[in-house]
């Protein structure tokens, strides 16, 4: 098969990533689970990311409300702001924004960490010492991000809606009860469930890409930086692609 170089590289990488992901499932299902390491990774990946995710979500909710307000007032539908903000945050902005922040923070850190371990040949040493490095490093980190991103998204949705509530109260007095009643009235299961489900895939994309880039980094310390960078870029793009697929699947339901 004759492909241009760039295409060949791209296809090669796609195949490598697919194989890497397949390896993750195969290794992850095998016994002898690294529970301790998984919990530790969950703590780092999830809990430590909460302040950053919550802050961006809060600001996003506040800003979105303030941006919408003049237009909604112009059309005389101020009362629809909670519904509109609620739907847009729960369905789209919450998951995407948190996933991107997550990719920036966790994807790069995983890529850099595994990259430096690879370059300093710690992974090889691990293998020699009888520990399965893939299981210990890749499976735990990827699983942690798969499990933690939905949690982060749910919490940052809540924070974001609270920010929106404060945003509305800059202009007019709206009761907390009424605000959340309006949001809940406008939401349905088919809004919430797909939004939560797709965050698992986002988490998987961030974890697996970070691990792959780190695990396959080369060329010394320079490669570490490149791995971290590539982890963020690729996982971010992948998040949008997954979102596109998710919205089409959700439309079918």
């Amino acid at each position: 098969m004759n492909f241009p170089d760039a295409t060949r590289v791209f296809l090669n990488q796609t195949g490598e990533i697919s194989r890497f992901a397949f390896r993750f499932f195969r290794q992850g299902l095998r016994t002898r689970y690294e529970w301790q390491e998984l919990l530790r990774q969950c703590y780092i990946v999830g809990y430590k990311s909460l302040p950053l995710a919550a802050l961006t979500a809060f600001i996003m909710g506040l800003v979105l409300t303030m941006q919408l307000h003049p237009t909604m007032v112009y059309y005389g539908v101020e009362a629809m702001i909670p519904a509109m903000v609620g739907i847009s945050i729960v369905r789209e902005i919450g998951p995407i924004l948190t996933a991107l922040i997550f990719a920036g923070k966790i994807g790069s850190s995983i890529g850099a960490e595994l990259g430096s371990m690879k370059v300093t040949e710690q992974i090889d040493a691990m293998e020699v010492s009888g520990t399965n490095p893939f299981k210990y490093l890749v499976v735990t980190r990827t699983l942690a991000s798969v499990l933690m991103l939905p949690v982060l998204v749910i919490l940052s949705d809540a924070v974001s809606l609270y920010g929106s509530y404060l945003g509305i109260n800059l202009y007019e007095q709206v009761q907390f009860n009424l605000f959340f009643k309006q949001i809940l009235d406008s939401l349905a299961y088919q809004d919430v469930v797909p939004a939560i489900v797709k965050t698992f895939f986002f988490g998987f994309a961030v974890g697996i890409i970070g691990c792959f880039q780190g695990y396959n980094s080369s060329k010394g310390t320079e490669g570490v930086g490149r791995s971290a960078n590539a982890a963020v870029v690729v996982s971010s793009v992948l998040i949008f692609i997954l979102d596109l697929i998710a919205v089409q699947v959700a439309d079918l339901l």
Binding site: Y43, G46, Y47, V151, L155, Y189
Partner: protein, 331 residues
Amino acid sequence: MKKQTANSVKLGLFVLSALCVLILTLYLLGKNRSLFGSSFIVKTHFKAVNGLIAGNNVRYGGITVGNVRQVVLLNDTVVEVRMDLDQKMRQILRASAKASLGTDGLVGNRVVNIVAGAGGAPLVQAGALLASDEEISTEKMLQTLHRTNENVAVISEELVMILHRISQSVQLTELLNDRSIPDNLKASLLHLRETTEKSSALMSEALLTLDAATKGRGTVATLMTDTAMALELRQAVGQVKTLETDIQRLTAGLEQVVASVNEDMNRGPGPLHTLMNDSLMAGQLRLTVDHAEKGVASFNRNMEALQHNFLLRGYFKKQEKAKKKANKPAE
């Protein structure tokens, strides 16, 4: 190790809080759609549901009490709507209630409104069929509106004609342009007001007089209230009546007299008849009068002569002097 436990606690807290938020959200959403509360089914039939779908709200008295579970086409004219209602509606909803279709707001979702019917009906059973009111369709409204519009068009055309004629009318324009009319009108109104004031004053005076009259003061009152005077008046009238009969008798007598005179004059043997009808006598009479005139003239001449007679002249002169004397002081 201790640090790791602390981290695990934090992680647990983190995960549990997110789980709580998720469960709470899903529960509240489910409660809104009444997925968890027990419910019972009530049915109703419509000719057309105009876009009602499963999941639309059912309202009773404006409060959401359930939702539409299913919309089924039963046959070519009947659409059956099956609704899930809250269990507590069993104690409220009566079999006489009526269902109708509505819209949430102006452009919102379709809703089924249930309205209470006549009281005293038994409480509704699960699976009962409620009576329904057909919706006033937009098409019908538009048809009516179309007719109204046509009428309005005709009316407006006629109005235009009328207005055209009004605007073309010279007299009316003059009338409208005449600046003096308002002044005149104002003056007229002023006068009218004065008149009214005066008449009202007059009326009040009249009222006062009437009041006084009824209370027994003044001439009118006496006239109206004095019974003795009435008696006298009646007597007077009676006398006047007798007087009248007397006069009548007198007149009759007079008539008789005149009649007899006439009779006499025309036919009777008396001197009057002779005097008036005998032409010979008339000639004689004229001769007599002639002679008498001549006699008087000659008598006058005699008297004149007598005045100038010396025997009697002194007496006439004395008389003239006395006359002059009497006239002088008056001047």
